[in-house]
Assembly symmetry: C2
Homo-oligomer: 156 residues x 2
DNA sequence: GCCTATAATTATAATAGTTCTAAAACAGAA
DNA sequence: TTCTGTTTTAGAACTATTATAATTATAGGC
């Protein structure tokens, strides 16, 4: 389930971290809430700059460390940018991404639409691939690549 | 159409480059044939090392330059590795990739199987996404993420 | 509320991958 | 063959990320 846009108070994040065996620190709280409040999929550096602006004197190394910890404990995922840097996503469920060729930006397909596509994948073909290749498919990652034909509501 | 494993002589590559408005050089020939003969999806550095070993005294900068030229002219595609570096693929058609969680390796789903899945995507859902988001889908990029349950025939 | 063990943070250095620079070599057209 | 724009090249520069090692903070037991 997507967690973009939810309000996260300190207590909620504390117990979330606790449930994932992650120590609670001021810095991790800041990074996680900054990430979870993003509509887009920020780079480590973008998060660092955002956090530097707002307050806390958090270091870039900690942003990297925290993101790695979040990913390892299943509270975030790391996405490959088309370019040189990695992007992070506080939504850890299966969901589709859209890549706008024109800008290179990466955004989400709305939950319902994306789920509909995932639910209508031809299961028999996936099964056949698993059987023929001796491979167990854990996740089908889909990216729709193309261009906006009218102004997107929000593009990064 | 996949071009892995095809034999490529100098004349064939010459006319291929010509058709794509790419000058023919010894180095580009070497990079392109090295890439096209790979069953896996090599990094720039892997290609450089392979070429250094075999002969030609080609420079790393040229490997990068050539790969960029190939991608720009549609003779190769650049794939995002999960990690830090980019991978290249001489197959420019739509095709599915498999990522082995255990090793991080990226390999191809056989043409026929992959096409079968692409042909059986729910077109009405794709259409709905295009309509609702005002986005024109040029390509659906799919990656199957999981683990081999028996020994894969060839893994990098 | 303190103490302590352990883990996280930080500044900084190091590394890895890629791109830039500017000079020399080359391809292809005439 | 000559000419011109393109490509190649070594090396420097740059960007993203990871490692190091000293400092600081957290969580839990008292
Ligand atoms: Mn960065
Ligand atoms: Mn490299
Ligand atoms: Zn997302
Ligand atoms: Zn491929």
């Amino acid at each position: 389930m997507h967690q973009h846009h939810h309000e996260l108070d300190e207590a909620a994040v504390h117990s979330l971290f606790c449930a994932h065996s992650l120590r609670f620190t001021r810095q991790r709280f800041a990074v996680y809430t900054a990430l979870a409040s993003e509509k887009v999929h920020p780079t480590a550096d973008q998060l660092f700059k955002k956090l530097s602006r707002s307050d806390s004197g958090i270091s870039l190394a900690t942003v990297y460390n925290t993101l790695e910890a979040l990913v390892k404990s299943g509270l975030a995922q790391k996405l490959a940018d088309g370019g040189t840097s990695a992007r992070y996503d506080a939504a850890v469920d299966d969901h589709l991404h859209i890549r706008d060729c024109a800008t290179g930006s990466l955004s989400d397909v709305p939950e319902a639409l994306g789920q509909k596509l995932l639910d209508n994948l031809p299961q028999h073909v996936l099964k056949q691939i698993e059987d023929e290749l001796g491979f167990s498919i854990g996740r089908v990652q889909i990216e729709l690549i193309g261009e906006y034909t009218r102004q997107a509501v929000e593009v990064n």
